[in-house]
C-alpha cells in the first residue's frame, strides 16, 4: 500500500531545494570578465599563458613535444659567413611555418632570440644586427590552466614604426578557442623594411587577450585567533568554526580560515584576516581578503556570551542565526561592521563565504 504524502510537504521540499541550490547557483554563476567588484581584479592571473617560445634564428632547432622540430633550418650554421657561430643560423628571408623549412640567406648576419618571463606572462624578443629584408619568426604557445578552456579575444600589434618594420602574426586569431587542457600555437613574423635606419633601435609589442574560465570554489570560513579561539567542536557542536574571546578593549587580528574541517587549519585555506577594534562600547570588525579570494556573504556575532542564541534561547553556531549579516555580497574583498552598545568582555564569531579560482 502506497504511503500518501500531502501536497504541501512536497511544496516545502521544493522551496527548500530552491533556496539551497539558488545559493549554489549564485556562488558558481558565470561571470563575464574578471569578477566585477572591488579588489578581486588584483588576484593572480587565471592563465599561465606562454608555455614555450622558439626563435628560428637562435642557432638551435627546437624539438617541442608533440610537434617535433618547430624551426627546421635553424641549425647554428652560416653557409658563407658566420658572425654568430652556433648562436645563430643562416638568416631567414621569408616567414617560417611551424615544422617547415624556410628560405634563408647564405649568411648569418643577424640574430633573433626570445625568452619567456618567469611568470610566463611575457615573451621578450631581441633582434640584433638586423638589416633590410631580414625576416625572423618567433613561435610560441599559450594555454589556460589545466582544467579550464578559454578563448583568444583579441590580438593587437602595436608597431610604432610601420615604415621600418612589418609585424604579422599567424596561427592564432581572435575568437580562437583554447581547448581545455590544451595549448594553441602561434607565430610572430618580423620583416625589416628598406626604410629601416641603420644603427637604430625599434620596438614593437603584440598583446594577446584571452578569456579563460577557471572553476570557482567557494567555502565557508571562520575567523580564528590562536590565543582566544575555541573550536565549536570543543563546546559540543558538530560543525567546525571558532568563537573568539573573551576580548577586552583593544585591537585584535584574526586569521580567516576556509575549509578547515574539525578546526584543523592544516587542511584549510588561509583566505584573509579579520580585525577587531574594541573600545569597551563599540567594536569595529573588518574582513580583509588575501589576494585571490573574495566574499559573497558574511555573518557576525559580537556579544558577551561565547555564542549567539537561537529563537529558543539555545546556543547556536549556524551563521544564519548570527545577529549581523551582509548577504549577499558582490564578490568583495573587504567588509566591515560597526557594533555599538557593547560593554565588558566580548566574544566574536566571524563567518564568511569565500570564493577563489582553483
Amino acid at each position: 500500500m502506497k504511503r500518501q504524502v500531502k501536497p504541501g510537504r512536497w511544496l516545502i521540499i521544493a522551496l527548500a531545494l530552491v533556496v539551497v541550490f539558488s545559493s549554489v547557483g549564485i556562488t558558481y554563476a558565470r561571470r563575464e570578465g574578471r569578477p566585477q567588484n572591488k579588489g578581486v581584479v588584483a588576484t593572480s592571473c587565471c592563465c599561465d599563458p606562454f608555455t614555450w617560445v622558439v626563435s628560428n634564428d637562435d642557432g638551435a632547432e627546437d624539438n617541442v613535444n608533440p610537434y617535433g622540430v618547430i624551426d627546421p633550418g635553424d641549425d647554428g650554421g652560416g653557409t658563407d659567413y658566420n658572425k654568430w657561430g652556433d648562436q645563430s643560423s643562416d638568416d631567414p628571408s621569408e616567414p617560417q611555418t611551424t615544422g617547415v623549412g624556410c628560405a634563408r640567406y647564405d649568411k648569418d648576419v643577424a640574430r633573433t632570440t626570445a625568452w619567456i618571463s618567469e611568470d610566463q606572462q611575457e615573451i621578450t624578443v631581441l633582434v640584433e644586427n638586423a638589416y633590410p629584408s631580414y625576416y625572423p619568426t618567433v613561435f610560441f604557445a599559450l594555454k589556460c590552466p589545466d582544467s579550464a578552456p578559454g578563448t583568444i579575444t583579441s590580438i593587437v600589434i602595436d608597431n610604432p614604426y610601420p615604415d621600418a618594420l612589418t609585424v604579422t602574426t599567424s596561427g592564432i586569431y581572435p575568437g580562437q578557442p583554447i581547448p581545455q587542457n590544451e595549448e594553441v600555437t602561434g607565430a610572430v613574423h618580423v620583416h625589416v623594411e628598406q626604410a629601416a635606419a641603420q644603427n637604430a633601435v625599434y620596438t614593437f609589442k603584440v598583446s594577446i587577450t584571452t578569456e579563460c574560465q577557471p572553476e570557482v570554489t567557494c567555502g565557508t570560513a571562520y575567523a580564528y585567533h590562536v590565543d582566544y579561539g575555541t573550536c565549536f567542536a570543543d563546546i559540543g557542536f558538530t560543525k567546525w568554526g571558532w568563537t573568539n574571546g573573551p576580548l577586552g578593549s583593544g585591537s585584535y587580528e584574526f586569521q580567516l580560515w576556509a575549509g578547515a574541517a574539525h578546526c584543523d587549519t592544516s587542511k584549510g585555506r588561509l583566505v584573509g584576516q579579520v580585525t577587531v577594534d574594541y573600545d569597551g562600547s563599540r567594536a569595529i570588525v573588518t574582513y580583509n581578503m588575501y589576494e585571490g579570494n573574495w566574499m559573497t556573504e558574511t555573518h557576525l556575532y559580537v556579544g558577551n556570551n561565547r555564542l549567539p542564541r537561537d529563537k529558543k534561547g539555545a546556543e547556536t553556531v549556524s551563521p544564519g542565526q548570527y545577529p549581523y549579516k551582509h548577504d549577499p555580497l558582490n564578490n568583495v574583498t573587504t567588509d566591515s561592521y560597526t557594533v555599538t552598545g557593547l560593554s565588558g568582555n566580548i566574544y566574536v564569531v566571524a563567518h564568511a563565504v569565500v570564493c577563489w579560482f582553483e
Partner: protein
C-alpha cells in the same frame, strides 16, 4: 517532479564557471646594424703621383708634370660596419685625353665582409697610363659605391 526539475535546473546553474580575461604580451626590441666602409690611400709609385680621399668613397689621384708611362697608387677598402657589403659601382671620371685609368684588385660585385670577419678589407690600386709627357697638373676621381650584400644589383 517539481522538486526534481528544480534540482536539475539549479544544479546546472551551480556548475557554471567564472570567466577571466587576461592580456599577455610579446615585447620586441630590434637593433639594426649599419654599413660603414672606409677608403684609405696607400703608397704611390712615383713622386709625380699622389692620392687622397675626397669624400668617404672617392679617391682623387693627382699627377703633376708626368712623363709618359705608368703610375700607380694603392688604396685599401675596409668594411668597418656590421653588415657585409658589395661594391655596387666603380666610376672613374676626370680623365684627360691621352691618359688611361684602370683599377686593379677590386671589382664591381666584390663582397667585403663586416668588420672583424675575414675578408673585411681589400687592397687595390689605381693605374694611370700617360701616353706622352705633359706639363701641369690633373686629377682623376675614382668613386666607389657600396650596398648591403643582399641588395646588390647585377
Amino acid at each position: 517532479m517539481l522538486s526534481i526539475a528544480l534540482l536539475l535546473a539549479l544544479c546546472v546553474m551551480g556548475i557554471g564557471y567564472a570567466a577571466w580575461s587576461d592580456t599577455v604580451s610579446i615585447d620586441a626590441t630590434m637593433e639594426t646594424g649599419y654599413i660603414e666602409v672606409g677608403l684609405s690611400p696607400g703608397a704611390c709609385s712615383d713622386l709625380e703621383i699622389t692620392c687622397s680621399v675626397l669624400t668617404p668613397h672617392t679617391l682623387v689621384v693627382t699627377l703633376t708634370n708626368p712623363h709618359a708611362g705608368n703610375y700607380t697608387c694603392g688604396f685599401t677598402i675596409t668594411n668597418t660596419g656590421t653588415i657585409p657589403v658589395k661594391i655596387q659601382s666603380i666610376v672613374i671620371s676626370g680623365v684627360p685625353a691621352g691618359v688611361e685609368v684602370s683599377v686593379l684588385g677590386v671589382v664591381k660585385g666584390m663582397q667585403i665582409e663586416q668588420a672583424g670577419v675575414y675578408p673585411d678589407s681589400f687592397d687595390g690600386a689605381v693605374i694611370v697610363t700617360v701616353q706622352a709627357s705633359c706639363e701641369g697638373t690633373f686629377s682623376v676621381n675614382v668613386a666607389f659605391s657600396f650596398v648591403q650584400w643582399n641588395m646588390y644589383i647585377e
